[in-house]
């Protein structure tokens, strides 16, 4: 990884906050640190879910990531995973 863990977390959060679409594939985060291996990026994104910075959004066949404050669930509540 070219970035430190903290820098990578910040880059992922920024990407999830500023992307035009609220839901992102894990692959969309790869550019946050092109030198990091995809599995490292995946692990950091999943840790951000545990910390509440990101949440999972599932279509059933695909799982995506999103900032909780950018997603509303089908029941009208803000997304808290």
């Amino acid at each position: 990884m070219a970035l430190s863990l903290e820098e990578l977390e910040a880059a992922i959060i920024e990407k999830a906050t500023k992307s035009p679409k609220p839901q992102l594939y894990v692959k969309d985060f790869y550019k946050c640190d092109p030198d990091a291996k995809p599995r490292q990026i995946k692990n950091v994104a999943n840790d951000l879910v545990k910390k509440g910075e990101l949440m999972f959004w599932s279509s059933g066949s695909t799982t995506m990531y999103a900032r909780p404050d950018r997603i509303k669930d089908e029941e009208g509540a803000e997304g808290i995973n």
Binding site: M55, F56, S58, G60
Partner: protein, 428 residues
């Protein structure tokens, strides 16, 4: 008393086959929300469009899979299915359940859900159909704490690994399918419960080429038992089959209800052998094992005379999928033989899995199954990524493309080329 008129669905009760409509009506006697499933489906038949909304953020804490959100888009009309989420429960290896466990699972689903189940979904999970969001966490707590069971995979996760019953009941199994299935399920908990990949990824483990879990048709990573050495032949039993002895029914007696006439080894075995590698010399059966593809057909027909060889392991095939985007495809043979060794925690298989994952996670497009990525880059590139030398078993048919693209390192002495100089003469 029916809550909704369902004349279109009622038609489905008129055939000689079991009807899910009848089952749901019966279920509605104790679970009234089942009337709303029927009502909404009747409306879908009329409108010719689904009234389910798919996906969302439902799930249980810490998991990115295992629950598939379902909501009705006409909840005021059908409040019983306003939320109707699907819960995937990981199946035990080989699908063995005790009756006690099945009762406990059904009680759990009666308590928290609609009571409607699908055993088993195509990944192998037990599918519990229909519950509300507020029931998910209590259900998950009871499932994991009281029953010691877990949710399966969904989304872009590793899906719940599945296996045939293997050595527990089948003498043809060439490795312990349940052992490796369970081991890899534990080893890859993070990949099962949280998204990891461009799209779904499935392991299936079949003990032999009969492939009872349809690994070759349905899994991205198919591990199919095989052997390296010769098929074991009992010549006395071969004679008994040829003589039609009572204790030697063809196909293990599977078709003995019909009048098929006397056993014809030429027609029923040799002519159906895909490589034509079997023949009789006098009253002795001969097999050219170097030509045998280990398809199991002859062993299936004469199970008391023929058995898999003694040097057992598995073939690894990759890239099967159902027809969502590009059409269905079988998996492609990648490694003809690999040892399945529980003493070293299946290290050889894990090495292959992680090599293909590392490549696919980088190269695969979003929502692209590994088989589609393989097809996009071509088998030669894929084999080179996997560091596997091409083998005759990788070739489906002789080439028809006359162009051969050599890499510099493949040509003795290599070559020098100046791309800038070349481009002066040939613009890109």
């Amino acid at each position: 008393m029916a809550k909704h008129e369902t004349p279109l669905l009622d038609e489905l009760e008129k055939g000689p086959w079991p009807s899910f409509v009848t089952d749901l009506k019966r279920q509605a006697e104790t679970k009234p929300e089942c009337w709303d499933i029927l009502g909404q489906l009747e409306l879908s038949y009329k409108d010719r469009i689904t009234h389910w909304k798919h996906g969302g953020i439902v799930g249980v804490f810490g998991y990115g899979g295992g629950i598939v959100g379902r909501y009705s888009d006409v909840p005021a009309q059908f409040p019983g299915v306003e939320h109707f989420h699907t819960v995937r429960v990981a199946q035990p290896s080989g699908l063995y359940y005790t009756t006690e466990n099945l009762r406990a699972l059904m009680d759990l689903w009666e308590k928290y859900g609609s009571g409607v189940t699908n055993l088993h979904g195509s990944t192998g999970d037990m599918i519990f159909l229909g519950t509300r969001t507020e029931n998910l966490e209590p259900l998950f707590w009871d499932l994991t704490h009281d029953l010691g069971q877990d949710l399966g995979g969904s989304g872009s996760n590793l899906r719940t690994p599945a296996c045939c019953l293997g050595e527990s009941r089948c003498e043809w199994s060439c490795y312990d399918t349940q052992e490796i299935c369970n081991h890899l399920t534990q080893h890859y908990q993070d990949e099962i419960h949280r998204p990891a990949f461009p799209y779904k990824f499935k392991f299936k483990f079949s003990g032999c080429a009969n492939d009872c879990v349809a690994a070759v048709a349905r899994s991205d990573f198919s591990v199919v038992g095989t052997w390296k050495d010769q098929i074991q032949i009992d010549q006395a039993a071969v004679k008994a089959y040829l003589n039609g002895d009572e204790g030697y029914p063809v196909n293990g007696g599977a078709h003995k209800g019909g009048d098929w006439g006397p056993f014809d080894i030429q027609k029923e075995v040799f002519d159906l052998c895909p490589t034509q590698c079997m023949w009789m010399e006098g009253d002795e059966l001969k097999i050219d094992d170097a030509e045998c593809t280990r398809c199991m057909h002859c062993i299936n027909v004469m199970p008391r005379a023929l058995r898999p060889g003694k040097e057992k392991g598995a073939s690894i095939l990759m890239g099967a999928k159902a027809p969502i985007l590009d059409g269905a495809q079988f998996s492609t043979l990648v490694i003809p033989f690999i040892e399945i060794n529980k003493e070293n925690d299946f290290e050889e298989v894990i090495d292959v899995i992680e090599k293909v994952w590392d490549w696919w996670m980088e190269v695969g497009k979003n929502r692209e199954r590994v088989g589609e990525t393989m097809q996009r880059v071509g088998l030669p590139t894929f084999l080179s990524v996997m560091e596997i030398e091409p083998l005759p078993q990788h070739v489906r048919e002789p080439r028809s493309n006359p162009y051969v693209f050599w890499k510099e390192e493949e040509v003795p002495g290599g070559w020098d080329r100046d791309v800038k100089e070349f481009r002066k003469r040939h613009a890109a």
